[in-house]
Amino acid sequence: MSGAAIEFRNVTKRFDGKTVLDSLSFSVAAGEMFAIIGASGTGKSVTLKHIAGLVEPDSGEIAVSGGKVGYLFQSGALLAWKTVRENVALPLEETTSLSGDEIDRRVDAALAAVGLSGAADLYPAEISGGMQKRAGLARSIVREPETILYDEPTSGLDPVTAASINSLIGEIGRSRRVTSVIVTHDLPGAMRLADRIMLLDKGKAVFCGPPGEFAASDLPQVRRFFAVMDGGEA
């Protein structure tokens, strides 16, 4: 490890003979906002799952420094039979010996941070997709993680809600100094939010750098992305 919060060294992963990550190497600095973009099926979510320890690489090394990891799943992954408040309290109730009052205090703070104080007693099925993502985010930050992984946090949301989720991610990342890795298809959001952007293509990192360099890059894979965003053909 060279002071990085996350480091991938030549990580390869295959599923049923298909190579999903192909000798992938990159690092993320502590406190950095790092966006991973790419077409569907290029290994973005699999990369996140490797960081979270949900998937083991076939070869290569992964080093994730420090304590807890938060993960905002694409679906929110809230437990359907628990209210928003119970979902957010769950990791504290199940993995800590904090008092009930302290848990309540932290849950209230997390819900307030994502603007969901008024929906605490509703069940996931009773709230919108955007609110579910906010609730998932509250459940991630309540453990005070050092790294938060976001799997397509704005997918399926209207532009206004997507923008509010993006600004929430930025706010949480900067105010809490957490390392954020965001897998997204939302290129404008990634350009605004990220310190660096990595473009994955067929399991390889074809670009990794600041948004300004990404926009100026002549790489055909990068230009294709911008062409699609501008309404052209891929």
Binding site: Y71, F73, A77, E94
Partner: protein, 252 residues
Amino acid sequence: MKVAARLFAAFGRHGLVLVRGVGYFPSVLLRAGGRRDFAAQLYAAGIRTLPVVTVVSLFTGMILALQVGLELQRFSQEEYLGAAVMLTLVRDMAAFSCGLCLAACVGSAIAAEIGTMKVNDEIDALRVMEIPAMRFLAAPRMLALVVMAPLLAFYCCISGTVGGGIVGATQLNVDFGQYMASALSIVKVKDLYVGLAKALVFGLAIGTVSVTEGLDTEFGATGVGKSTQRAVIVSFLAILVTGYMITRMCYS
């Protein structure tokens, strides 16, 4: 060879869930959250299945009484109807009918619930939060089935015997009091222990199979459907095979 390897792997997966799930039983009772979940599962496995179990056991007793009673009537031995019905229920049929009801009603629901959680990333979310799914999801469900299955089997004995008595009194001219006296005279304590032990093993088998199939779910809604179906089929097979083995061990 491939089939043998898959069968061996399936046994391994179920065995692992069994050992891990049972290992977390004390934790279910020691944690406040665990006790809450356990109480909810007791309600789901016990109270909510009671109507189905009542109907199934009542009719099991009635069918037994009718079939056996008609034969006994040919030899003017109707006074033994209660004994025949009670013995069959206590030794085997109560545990079997209760086990099959639990597999169909509760096991399928457990497999579907956990399977849906798996395809919705909720199991992965638990892992990221460092909450063991075996402790949080599997153990309360398995323990509830282990506790409820013998209780329901005992209940099946009573309601099945009553069902048999109704048929005896209404269709076979067997006095209900005489029927009950005959029923209670034949049963030994060992029969009751074996019957309830069978139900306990069935409960554990249904819990293990349903949790394993739920956790093995892949490929969205179709996968959930397949897991649910597999959970019921494998539970039925487990009930029949372990039931036979226990009978063989205890009565031969």
